[in-house]
Symmetry: C2
Subunit: 503 residues, 2 copies
Amino acid sequence: MAQFTCRTIDILTGHRTVLVNRKDCEHVDIRAHDRVNLRKGDRSATATVDTTTTIVHVGEIGITNDLIPELGVNEGEIIDVSLLPAPASASFIRKKVMGHKLSKDEIYSIVEDAVKGVLTDVEMAGFLMAQHFLGMTDEEEVWLTRAMADTGEKIDFEKPVYDKHSVGGVPGNKVSLLIVPIIASAGLLIPKTSSRAITSPSGTADTMSVLAPIEFSAAELKKVTLKTGGAIVWGGGLHLAPADDIFINVEHPLRVDPEPQMIASIMAKKLAVGVDFMVLDLPVGQEAKIPSSDEGRRLSFKFINMGDKLGIKVRCGITYGGQPVGYTVGPALEAREAFEALEGHGPASLIEKSTSLAGMLLELGGKAVRGGGQELAKQILASGKALGKMREIINAQGGDSKIQSIGIPVGQCKAEIVAPCDGYITHVSNAAINQIARAAGAPIEKGAGIILHGKEGHKVSKGQTIMEILGERDSRVDEAYGLAVKLAPISIEGMLLQEVSSD
Amino acid sequence: MAQFTCRTIDILTGHRTVLVNRKDCEHVDIRAHDRVNLRKGDRSATATVDTTTTIVHVGEIGITNDLIPELGVNEGEIIDVSLLPAPASASFIRKKVMGHKLSKDEIYSIVEDAVKGVLTDVEMAGFLMAQHFLGMTDEEEVWLTRAMADTGEKIDFEKPVYDKHSVGGVPGNKVSLLIVPIIASAGLLIPKTSSRAITSPSGTADTMSVLAPIEFSAAELKKVTLKTGGAIVWGGGLHLAPADDIFINVEHPLRVDPEPQMIASIMAKKLAVGVDFMVLDLPVGQEAKIPSSDEGRRLSFKFINMGDKLGIKVRCGITYGGQPVGYTVGPALEAREAFEALEGHGPASLIEKSTSLAGMLLELGGKAVRGGGQELAKQILASGKALGKMREIINAQGGDSKIQSIGIPVGQCKAEIVAPCDGYITHVSNAAINQIARAAGAPIEKGAGIILHGKEGHKVSKGQTIMEILGERDSRVDEAYGLAVKLAPISIEGMLLQEVSSD
């Protein structure tokens, strides 16, 4: 135990942190990240130590408004500071770091303390790095997933719940806007929670936000879903598996995404909304998250196995993720294209992907025989039932149920990229399309994005428009255009291999 | 890029951190730990993002006094915030995390940015965890060591420099106070930099601080050493290898000490003071840092090999670390015992360990033939030359050169532990002795500590004093006494095996 003179700091930081001069750490057994007990008379509080060389002098302790009321301490008064042992969860993290398997209770303790804010970023980094380097057993993964679900909000729909999830990484993947109304039309419950874009130009939540509000409480999501059979809302507002965001914040600077954590992140949110049947879209391609079909198959078995242990029946669809889905990228453009498909005039590739994934869910739900799901999905789409259901859902979420694709406003500022030569499109770069669409303002400026006029295999002529950049501000469209010229997202080759010379 | 409304926060934190509401992170591509550029008119600054749910609202950015003068920004004004790419060093850390070997330039970049404060704790945790799980190649270790030395203060003594270092972990290890004057008496240069106690009751720096000031600049250390041949100072004041403390602060909460980092930490400080010859004390014992002789030998070869590559000739001494060295623990008590040994009446075990390590240095320095070093060291000690030299050093460091062991003040409050039965001491617990001495007030209260009246193998009678606890305050001695009763640091057994019954 040591005594320090209080230096009060008149702000609220939201953290229970005290500041100690780094020189004191040499004398006293207290270091950065340590937890300490602060005592003044009969009052006490706990805090985490941060060190400084400037703000407080040797022998002083800096205390912010977060702790002052609890301690009733004034500038210049003396308080006792004693080191607290690290929480048990920190010792469980060290156990994992040292290569030992964790028990159910140990994993729950780590996840609970992460959610409560008891664990420091460095401790959580230790946990995530141990997962990265050592992996986890199936049992550990199940406990991690359950712990993440159990430490957040949960919804019980009191009926079987269906869901579609994409591992992501491919721009223009607006398939949920077709799948949800198709499934709901068939009488199955599909409360789709989705994310906003983090590194892409539009997440499903961003796209849906063009058509209707997307921020709801758990009770509101339940009401909408039970009324219409479906919903497409932002998962971030529901407080499902809150540990996920906390872990992601620590993974982010290291750009690691340990597989156990990735799987737990997806499955915990499904557990939290009571999903019973789930179709997983695994886009495979050089610039997608999953580079090869082999890797796609390996991950599929992993998810199916984990689903079994968690009571979720999982079917996986390995899809082509080598180029954008459909022809548009960006919130409003994607919403418009999805609506066109619901109205009966969408692109074949979008309809093909959406109905095949929807078909798998229809088969899981007993609405179609094995192999007959896609046909049923296509019928529901062609009949206009899915369009009607989507308008019901939009209406239930507070949007305009009379909306038509033609009425969805997109960016009025525009630039065109033309083909520099005759030839065939050999490649459309997901990474470049993402960057250009974001430069144009997506996802924040909803009308911003890209319209492709050709994809892999299409024949184009010199001077023909192959891509349009749309935006809400000229300056951003100019910036995106410059980037497009530099990145050349669409590769064209002359197919010279087909020419045989007789010279 | 995004725009935020400034919320000024009137404190200096010493960090270039801005606060953003966590909700904004969902909309804008900015997350905790990201670096951002802040721009207001023609002024700009860089900062790291911290997130909050309370201090600033959505759309606001919290800016502390650290950044306000640079930006010339006022409460309520709008500033532009754009994401900066992570520094190259962060990508090198990710490269290591992904299992790739780092180049010299990459390692220098990481260490330089750690020292400049550019890397976040989570990024540094990634670097240290990668070392923990993957190790480093010899080449990487050499670069890490050189980079740590090159990013701090360096001293050139312009003569061969000798040094003794202990890996630590054993209480009462005051051997440097004998070795330094012995070596300096023989005409070799030994500028000993040492640490204060972190988890032990007294580091060499704490013990020396009883006899003379220990905080010096590099120039002052050079002056003292060139004048007397030796010095014993606190390394922390010299700014040698400053990356070490930075990395230790991150390792500490995870309780990991990756071997490459441990070796680099020691060797970088030796490089920084230009050590040419070095003897390394590796105490081995159940409660020491090194549990077995095999492990001691493995580490010895590692240090010798690393020394070769760094141009430092290393010899290692594996010593017995199963119980405290000598009979005293705590700054003043250890200083007094070391002085008694210099005066010719110290305990045999202390003299044996000190002269054997000193002897190895004398052999390295060509002052004795191989095998003859310890004898020479004993002669120097017995002749009183080492005592005279120690007084010269104390004088040069600003202490009282007439000091005698009898004049060193120790704690006046006292408690005694007596043997609960007749028998032989079978074990003295390092861990328990450390805890009790710290409870008594060591190392902050210099007179506090422990005097042992027996060690392993000694025969004791019931009621005989086997240990004294000294302190400067009764309350702390009482606390330490209570702890001693609970921990029973000295085990006594009846040696019943020697009794043969004829019944």
